[in-house]
Amino acid sequence: MFLSRKAQKYLIAFSFLIIPLILLGIFTYYPIVRGIVLSFADYNMLRRTTKWVGFENYKYLFNYKYFYIALGNSFKYLIVVPFIQFFSILLAVLVNQKIPGIKFFRTLFYIPVITGAVIVSIAWRWIYDVDGLLNFMLLNLGIIKEPILWLSDKRIALFSAMFVTFWRGLGYYMVIYLAGLQNIPSELYEAAMIDGANKKQIFWKITIPLLRPTMLLCFLLSTLSALKVFEEVYLLTQGGAQTTTLLYEMYDLAFNRYQFGRSAALSVIFSGILIVFALLNFKFFGYRGEKS
């Protein structure tokens, strides 16, 4: 072998890395760069021509009514985050008890996560329908007199979608919190018990601080996925009843109206918003809990 030891090591390391890195390059890094370039152009898919338009796409968006509706809705969707987090921590504590049959209940709570957005949305559309289960129950119980248009009333539809997101997300975060809870060494609890701490003190002084890294992860994930909500909107309302969100608008511009440049511009603006929110999350919860 003529190669130095160091060069050999590089060669070996990169032979492990090369295929994954090439794939990431083509389908992850390249789209990020190309997307930014595309946002300054008018791309015609059929003729495959690119015409440079400068900031026209951005200007168009800033004068576009649905951009603001989508922006507002994506932010409104953040209301879901604290609710999901609060209740999924409670759920995780509840199912972390060692009592008979608890695994069965965990499985049941996870079913909405595992079944996927399409099935969940069809089932909920059936519940929210004008003649659906929800209206039927409320009418018969005498709570309402007229059926409510859960998915087509402008004032209600977004909240109906939010509730599905909440319902679908609880089990997902419950499992992450459960993993976080089970990672806390039991010696800590034993030591605290010997020192005479009561249950409340143990929860606030040991469980919550040690759950911090998990909480950071979960808040970050649920903030980003609330801003990025798409499936519920697409499957429940098709963006109707003023429920369009940034991601839905992005999809609509590109794949229904073939305005790729405008869609790319929206994607750039959207990326900026998401990065700001990710940084805010880190700042708010701090790096303190993060050890690696």
């Binding site: 390391a13 295929i19 509840l94 079913i111 399409v118 969940v120 992450i176 089970q182 990672n183 690696s292």
Partner: protein
């Protein structure tokens, strides 16, 4: 006397806990139970007061109609192909890429790891358009490969495998090296078998993600005969013209495989997150 009081209190706590658990179980499953119930009902009296959760005269007619109107078996096979391909890709790329990042010393290692994690902060939905154009240029439009190749590398998977590779003791590797194994043999014969539970977890996560994937297959596939279940189901409303009993039957058919799968693999889901959130 005091003892009795305590056990009474404990008993009461048990009852309350289980009561809460049962109410929650209903909260999380009632849309599915309602769908199941609807799918077994005949055309008469869809609604009765109080709501009929267990139909009096159950019928499988709706299920027969679903199989007549929709190529369910074809959808199912398509889903199996897409999911299988995706799982294989993600497991191979993650187990490969994570190895040098966890167990080899070389300059620039941390930089590469950071670069790999970075896209987690960027909305990759923005990549949909460009990836769609790339797929067309690579002549992969309307192919199964086109559906899976864009997500063939899982960042979460690389992260998970790296965390698990780190936990394998150094001594095992040293012993193998003394016996004359090269780096690939060490990876394949020593380290990889030791992280098998993590690999299984990764495979299961990938399975669930691909099985339920919906938007990308919808964009990349043109022929309805190539649709996976989720995409096929999304067209239900037009096929069944709002016949909820038949739609419900289709949902039940599509849900059963994933529920069976989850029933047997559920412990890996919690283990997987434990591996990812541990320090």
């Amino acid at each position: 006397m005091k003892n009795k009081k305590i056990s009474m209190k404990k008993f009461l706590r048990y009852i309350i806990t289980y009561l809460i658990l049962i109410i929650l179980a209903f909260f999380f499953t009632f849309p599915f139970l309602w769908t199941l119930s609807t799918s077994l009902k005949g055309p008469v009296n869809l609604f009765k007061w109080p709501p009929e959760w267990i139909p009096k005269d159950p019928t499988i007619e709706n299920y027969i109609m679903v199989f007549k109107k929709l190529p369910m078996l074809k959808y199912f096979l398509n889903t199996v192909i897409i999911t299988g391909l995706g799982v294989v890709f993600q497991v191979i790329t993650s187990t490969l890429a994570a190895y040098p990042l966890a167990r080899m010393q070389f300059k620039g290692r941390n930089l590469i790891f950071t670069l790999i994690l970075l896209p987690m902060l960027i909305p990759m939905q923005g990549a949909l358009i460009v990836n769609f154009l790339t797929i067309i240029n690579l002549n992969l439009y309307n192919t199964y490969l086109g559906v899976v190749i864009t997500s063939a590398v899982s960042i979460f998977g690389i992260f998970l495998m790296r965390q698990n590779y780190l936990s394998v003791p150094r001594e095992l590797e040293d012993a193998a090296r003394i016996d004359g194994c090269n780096e690939f043999q060490i990876w394949w014969k020593i380290i990889l078998p030791l992280v098998r539970p993590a690999t299984a977890t990764l495979a299961i996560f990938a399975f669930a993600a691909y099985w339920n994937s919906f938007l990308w297959p919808l964009i990349v596939l043109r022929d309805a005969s190539k649709y996976p279940l989720q995409v096929g189901l999304a067209q239900l409303n037009s096929v069944f013209e709002g016949n909820f009993r038949q739609i419900s039957a289709a949902i039940v058919i599509a849900t059963i495989p994933i529920l069976i799968f989850f029933f047997f693999t559920q412990k890996f889901f919690i283990e997987g997150y434990k591996g990812a959130v541990k320090q």
